[in-house]
Symmetry: C2
Subunit: 448 residues, 2 copies
């Protein structure tokens, strides 16, 4: 395939923007990355981040450009969940089979490293340069101090919008006719909190676990960092009897942690301080279509499909966009119109599927973690899956440890759910859940 070197602008120097820069440099293009914010390597990170969980799709995209090993150096493998239920000992749930793990990475550390790598590969970065307008058919950018100041004009061959959930590039596309768009917020917010390392630098909680304190309508999670600390995220309704609105001072925050999270009591003082230092952030599912404009402009990552974080797939989905896009570039060479059109056709159903799965996980975590019937169902699925690994791959494993399309995971998950609904109706299922009868029933339903 012929491949002419193009002059390419990427808007956004986040994870997706910098990885895309590396990919496009490898293909010989001239790449400039614009970001309206300062260089993240020169400032303190925001205090509103949830640690990343890199899984199979993310690693595959990094491996393709030779970055897997260097990124694994700043990541910690988590092969299990550590469930902290009050008045019970911590119990562990393995994520998958032996050797399968998700990897905890600090967003700030990863982003800095990715920008370093992109610069090494030859991409140019323009920080503190605000893009205010885009001429879509001409692939022109306009930047300036403010929206009303004098603007500088740039001409490119191609523009990629990697500028996140509140993308300016998409915003420009959105004003066109026949552009479908939706943004939908959930009524739960989140706040970043930190558990510092022990004096000797070791982790205060079990290091290779994803820690969860499920509490029905809210929960706390903690993921380890390489410096011995944990980045915690408190998910809590914005309004209501126990909510961000209802906690207004340090005393109330301390009371809240004492009541609901007594086993992280030692850390509470620190948590309560962070509580008022760090902002409360909202979570949105954002969908749109089309993702591209002719052979000129394309959205990649959150700008095309922002999702709620409850499946840990936001970054993985964005990195997979790049992997797919790169495959199409290999296939269609200079034909960017076909590349863009195939890209959006292939990715859109998968982006919708992971959005749906992530939202369902939010509902599940909020309302079902304490439901005995739900836990029994999960236990049966696991038992059956262990007996027949070829016949029953749990949705979580398909999403997290495979590179099969998200849309397939969603469809098969719905089919499995239908089967389990019938199984759960069997009389005395709680007693005979691991019986031959149940096994045969599932096998028969699978054959339907």
């Amino acid at each position: 395939m012929t491949q002419t070197s193009k002059n390419i602008a990427i808007i956004g120097s986040g994870l997706v923007g910098s990885l895309l820069a590396i990919y496009l440099k490898k293909r010989g293009h001239a790449v400039t990355v614009f970001d309206r914010r300062p260089d993240i390597r020169t400032i303190e990170f925001s205090g509103r981040s949830i640690n990343l969980a890199m899984s199979n799709r993310g690693w595959r995209a990094l491996r393709e450009v030779g970055l897997e090993d260097s990124i694994k150096e700043i990541a910690i493998p988590l092969e299990k969940r550590a469930m902290h239920v009050n008045e019970k000992p911590v119990y562990f749930q393995k994520y998958g089979k032996d050797g399968e793990a998700i990897w905890s990475i600090s967003r700030g550390i990863l982003n800095r490293k990715m920008i370093d790598l992109a610069e090494e590969s030859g991409a140019k970065f323009k920080f503190n340069e605000k893009v205010w307008d885009i001429d879509l058919p001409e692939a022109k950018l306009f930047t300036g101090e403010t929206e009303k100041s004098e603007w500088k004009e740039y001409q490119y061959d191609l523009i990629f919008g990697c500028d996140g959930a509140f993308s300016r590039v998409r915003h420009k596309m959105q004003r066109r006719s026949r552009f479908d768009y939706s943004q939908s917020f959930i009524n739960v917010g989140y706040k970043e909190l930190t558990i510092p390392p022990n004096a000797d630098g070791s982790h205060k909680l079990e290091k290779n676990s994803f820690h969860i304190w499920p509490r029905g309508k809210f929960m706390l999670i903690a993921m380890p960092n390489i410096d011995g600390s944990f980045t915690c995220t408190l998910f809590l309704p914005f309004e209501g009897p126990v909510s961000f609105e209802s906690i207004t001072n340090t005393k109330e925050a301390q009371e809240f942690f004492k009541t609901y999270f007594p086993n992280v009591r030692k850390e509470i003082e620190n948590l309560a301080k962070d509580f008022f230092k760090n902002p409360t952030s909202a979570m949105v599912t954002m969908k749109c279509y089309p993702w591209t404009y002719w052979n000129k402009v394309a959205l990649v990552g959150d700008s095309a499909h922002a999702i709620v974080p409850f499946y840990g797939q936001g970054m993985n989905a964005g990195f997979e966009d790049i992997f797919v896009l790169n495959g199409l570039i290999g296939q269609y060479g200079d034909d960017w119109e076909t590349i863009f059109s195939e890209y959006q056709k292939q990715r859109k159903p998968n982006a919708d599927a992971i959005a749906e799965l992530s939202y369902r996980n939010f509902v599940e975590m909020s309302s079902k973690t304490a439901d005995q019937k739900f836990l029994l169902q999960k236990k049966i699925e696991k038992w059956f899956s262990n007996k027949h690994p070829d016949k029953w791959i749990p949705v979580y494993s398909r999403v997290t440890f495979s590179d099969k399309p998200y849309a397939e995971a969603l469809a098969i998950g719905d089919m499995q759910e239908k089967i389990m609904k019938e199984v759960m109706q069997l009389p005395d299922i709680a007693e005979k859940w691991d019986s031959e009868e149940v096994e045969k029933k599932i096998l028969a339903l699978l054959d339907n």
Copy 2:
């Protein structure tokens, strides 16, 4: 209730903006209406309009401020559909009971009249003044020649966004966190066409009918004007074998009308000319929430809930917003925070319901008008409703000839649909559709 006179800005001088101005003037407020376009009374109307079908909700809102009679002078009552099926004589379907009708009004004529009336009531109009930004918490407006020119600042007590489906006011609200928003286009576009009057000024088609030429994936409609003409709307897919895309010249347009609309053949030359003169427009369902900002800003009409036109309820829903808002002002006086919060809580579920009903009517008109089973079902519903008018009010009548909430119409319609699904499964239903057995079956199902 105390009622302090406020200084109020309305953005948009369309139907909803001008009616709201009249209502607010009646309550003693100072009202200024801004519009970025020229005064519609001084220019030719756009050629992209569908005639309005004023029904009960619209009339009620006009009656409340004494305008029903003067608007009826420019409206034509339509008490029936005239169905034009090829190779069959025209047949008529009554909309409701005797005396029930929808009223055809030209959007341009009505809008001009409404602005006249609003001016007479004391509202000030500022045409050609473009609002570029709104300071929501301060209720400030910024206007100017262009987005980048110098801006003029206005301070108000309250701002109403009546600026339609692509509202600037909503656009500003949309950039806030936790603002839910969606815009979803259908794959069918429309084009305005005209059937001129006879030489003697009379109508070329039956005057008191809503004319429909259903053709499966597309259709033509015609609604009468008081000058003897008909405003026609051609609904046609954007792409595909028979589509706006596939008709590229006058010859193809003439061929299209000859093939699919032979009984309006006499008019084809005119229609084919209009076809290329008038633009093709897209149709969108737009939803958002919240509709208000503190006690400062509120969205009314299409800016809060744009719907596809297939139920003829867009304007009626907007006028009903105003009627409800006015009731709340009467109830809560100066407490604009409560007025706005009650307004959006009451109206949102109804706006969602009419959006859903309108979209379903699009699907129904596109795919079911030729389905014998569907027509039989409608016939049974009508027959039963005539026998038991107290037990079965068709959804269309609830929406069009009552002022019961849209959400109720949708819910009852779903319940009726479920009953009819069972009835349609009765063996030999086509033969015994008007039997005592069917009547008893429906009565029993209603009692469930």
